[in-house]
């Protein structure tokens, strides 16, 4: 049997057996819905309905109801898109990159982080969709034969690369997530007593029986999917950043964008995982599986990526001066001292200063501090995108067309609405799906479970 160093903190606390792991995860699904969950899902559904209403109003009236104007033609829509895609990066990073590095602590968090990824990417996809105005012709982004001569889509454009990147990322993450879910659905199926629930989980589990050959294939599929999902994660946000970087707008046209966006995405994704999991572990009594050590590991990832983001901000600033390009320098001087300087300083405080607090072990291991800072980081990351997008285009080369952006109630409604839809989906997931990867957790119980580690130490 594989042994683990005794000084490593156990990943599964308490005196757990294989059966306890099943009980702790499947129990809440079998039981009645807790009141807290009912309250939360009611609130988020109301917000979601408001969001859907805003979207329908927007589609019925036209995107003129947003605060966009001739100068600022991209604002909250693309900010929200990039923000959601960024959040959607943590899940696959946790399940794919950490699988390749054989990090066992990922097993407690990968399932819900991936669910979060999938829901976040759906939210992200809403924005370019509705920004098209006529969403019913959105299939025009695909290279389909058409009646306009043979007018194909432009494969030189990063916007089209984005179509391929986001759809590939979404569908591959979904498949990766579902393949991991199949054996766990089988566990639920075999424990359900009500016939309807048994039937539903039976269909969802695809008739999984846990044969040796199937597990052999399962592990190969997980490994290969992780291997190809890893470059995929990095490519997706690189391509999102190229939407900006390949244009000639000062403040966007920088080669630093791909790595800067990717680390920013991981940074905000982990922050969102923290926000969600800190609530979920309490609500579903999973404190033995997702505990301080997991939170600390994630906070370390947040320090690393947050510091990369901080260095990128400073590099950007330095290069704008060093390049000697007047327009480029102006774009950055305007960022920190112009009409939108408040958002720049907001971003700097939230993203550069606040994650550095995690260098203190006390803060890094404090659940309350982590929860607060994770929300601060996500606010900061939203402002990062806002700063990049709005401040770069609100002052054109031609001063007569300088303008400002003011969000309308529809801008706000659509954004808040996506938060509502996201939380509704996540709460539904937490109620009906196995929130921990049961089959994976059971494989590490003997090496990283507290009781087994103690037994080994006593030998």
């Amino acid at each position: 049997m594989q042994k683990e160093a005794a000084i490593r903190e156990p990943l599964i606390l308490g005196d757990k057996s294989y059966k306890d792991i099943t009980d702790d995860v499947v129990g809440p699904i079998q039981g009645a819905a807790p009141t807290g969950w009912k309250i939360m899902i009611t609130i988020s559904t109301i917000i979601a309905i408001y969001g859907v209403g805003s979207i329908l109003y927007l589609l019925g009236t036209g995107i003129g109801v947003w605060g966009l104007n001739k100068t600022v033609g991209w604002a909250w829509d693309i900010t929200n898109f990039v923000w959601w895609v960024g959040i959607g990066h943590a899940g696959t990073l946790i399940s794919a990159v950490l699988l390749l590095f054989r990090q066992k602590w990922r097993m407690a968090i990968n399932r819900s982080a991936e669910a979060m990824t999938i829901f976040a990417v759906i939210m992200a996809a809403i924005f370019p969709g509705i920004h098209m105005g006529r969403i019913w012709v959105s299939y025009w982004v695909l290279p389909l034969p058409n009646q306009f001569g043979s007018l194909w889509v432009n494969f030189n454009s990063p916007l089209l690369w984005d179509v391929f990147a986001i759809s590939t990322y979404f569908s591959v993450s979904l498949v990766f997530w579902y393949i991991g879910l199949i054996p766990d659905f089988a566990t639920i199926r075999d424990r359900m007593t009500k016939p309807l629930a048994k039937k539903i989980y039976g269909v969802l589990s695809f008739g999984w029986s846990g044969r040796a050959k199937h597990w052999n294939r399962f592990e190969e599929v997980s490994l290969v999917l992780a291997g190809i999902a890893t470059p995929l994660v990095f490519s997706v946000h690189s391509i999102v950043s190229m939407d900006f970087a390949t244009s000639v707008v000062p403040g966007w046209h920088t080669t630093i964008f791909p790595p800067y966006f990717v680390s920013g995405a991981v940074f905000s994704g982990f922050a969102m995982v923290q926000t969600l999991l800190l609530i979920m572990r309490k609500g579903m009594k999973l404190e033995n599986y997702i505990h301080v050590k997991h939170v600390e590991y994630m906070n370390i990832v947040i320090i690393v990526t947050g510091s990369i983001v901080g260095v990128a901000y400073l590099t950007e600033l330095f290069i704008s001066w060093y390049s000697g390009v007047e327009y480029e320098s102006y774009a950055f001087i305007n960022r920190f001292s112009g009409p939108y300087s408040w958002s720049y300083w907001m971003m700097m405080t939230c993203n550069v200063i606040s994650p550095q607090l995690f260098w203190f072990k006390k803060i890094r291991r404090s659940l309350i501090a982590t929860f607060i800072l994770s929300i601060v980081v996500n606010i900061g990351m939203w402002f990062e995108r806002y700063v990049i997008i709005v401040t770069s285009i609100h002052r054109d080369y031609d001063p007569s067309s300088w303008g400002e952006f003011h969000p309308t109630s529809v801008d706000v409604g659509v954004f808040i609405g996506t938060l509502g839809i996201f939380f509704t989906l996540f709460l539904a997931f937490a109620r009906f799906f196995p929130v921990l990867a049961l089959n994976e957790l059971k494989t590490i119980l003997k090496t990283s479970g507290e009781n087994y580690k103690k037994q080994q130490a006593n030998h």
Binding site: L204, K213, I228
Partner: protein
């Protein structure tokens, strides 16, 4: 009458030791049902490594080819467009701009091709009936399936050999 034995163990290491002991006696283990992948059981019971990885590679290269072929047709052959003066006369010249889509499409084909093959080869598809002999095998029990059909021993001899291992439960059924 052929018989099928379902030997249940309550620990993965016990199952592995038992399987080794039985195989040493020349008994063939037909299959193992477990709630999670038991590492090291495959060589004991003779499960070969899957070739799904090779399949995935082939699907991915198909994706690469299709993406390049498509973009060559759309952008170079059928309707070359002058976009900001970027070269549009040969695939090689325009290749840098085609890399992202080529990569994404290769991943798309590789991942989905592999996932579909995996589900088909397993026979795990929506609505399929489960075939594990006992519902506890997806929870915390480990079941070994042994048939008289695959073994030269008689049912009684097999039963005796199985009972020597530290089993948790044994069920014997007639085999159709």
């Amino acid at each position: 009458m052929n018989k099928v034995f379902h030997v249940m163990y309550d620990d993965d290491d016990t199952l592995k030791d038992a399987a080794s002991a039985l195989v040493a006696k020349g008994i063939r283990v037909k299959d193992v049902f477990s709630p999670f992948p038991v590492h090291g059981i495959d060589p004991i019971i003779g499960v070969k490594r899957t070739r799904l990885g090779i399949a995935a590679f082939m699907y991915a290269t198909t994706g690469t080819t299709l993406a390049l072929l498509g973009m060559w047709y759309f952008m170079i052959s059928d309707w070359p467009m002058n976009i900001g003066g970027k070269p549009s006369f040969s695939l090689i010249e325009n290749l840098p701009a085609f890399i992202p889509v080529t990569f994404e499409f290769s991943v798309l084909c590789g991942a989905h091709g592999m996932a579909i093959t995996y589900l088909l080869r397993n026979g795990t598809l929506p609505g399929m009936p489960a075939s594990n002999p006992d519902p506890r095998s997806t929870d915390d029990k480990f079941i070994m399936e042994i048939t008289t059909e695959q073994n030269a021993m008689s049912a009684d001899e097999l039963e005796a050999a199985l009972k020597e291992t530290p089993l948790f439960e044994l069920s014997i059924k007639d085999y159709k």
